[in-house]
């Protein structure tokens, strides 16, 4: 397994989430089968907000075209950040909820982990 991209930033506070997805898309375009994990406030990528900037969450819809079908989500962040089941269901990717031990195993299965 190649690279796991971890997003721990909100989609609108700074460009971290967008920059992370740019890296992820590039890795996917190079057929590196990258993984994506949302943690902490990063789960707000699954919500939609309005503002003068492009919402990075919209980029998720492009991922299946690059064979990224799955998204890993930190289960503890879902409740803490108030993400609803409806919002999870609306995600264009298959959301796999992971607890802390599973996240540890996931990270260990990748050669590189890039945290944004």
């Amino acid at each position: 397994m190649s690279t796991l991209v971890v997003i721990q930033s909100t989609p609108y506070g700074n460009t971290n989430a967008k920059d992370a997805l740019d890296v992820l898309l590039t890795l996917a375009a190079f057929e590196q089968a990258p993984g994506l994990l949302l943690q902490g406030v990063g789960v707000h990528l699954l919500t939609s907000t309005q503002g003068p900037f492009k919402h990075a969450g919209k980029m998720l819809a492009a991922l299946p075209m690059y064979d990224v079908e799955q998204l890993y989500v930190d289960n503890s962040a879902i409740a803490a950040q108030g993400i609803s089941q409806t919002q999870l269901a609306q995600c264009p990717l298959d959301c796999q909820l992971l607890d802390q031990p599973a996240i540890g195993k996931l990270m260990a299965s990748y050669q590189h982990v890039l945290v944004f």
């Binding site: 920059d19 050669q111 590189h112």
Partner: protein
Amino acid sequence: MNTLTYCLFVRCGPHHQAQAFHAIEFARALLTAGHHIERVFFYQQGVLTASELRTPPQGELDITQAWQQLQQQHNVQLDVCIAAALQHGILNNEEAQRYEKPANNLAPGFHLAGLGQLASATVSCDRVISFGGGL
């Protein structure tokens, strides 16, 4: 000794003093220890390191110059993400002409490159080390 191939992923700007300094110190330490740095990839605010116009106060370490020295002495590849560079106002002559800007400021020794260079580094390098994540 087991030598490894590294990619340094610099995401902090030269104004994030300690973190920017750690990146250059880590690079020096790797080379001293006999490891290979395939490339340094500047991303996000890290691209500001590549401005030839940076003028740090007298007596302070000039991070841009420090990377240039490392490039000259050890032929380390210094790649600057082109999309982030344009956004942060770091342009080489070609990009300045393309976007009809009045000046260019990419410091010698640095090269504009695509994210593909980072992607290929994840394949060819044993380690990718980030500096300044989560800023």
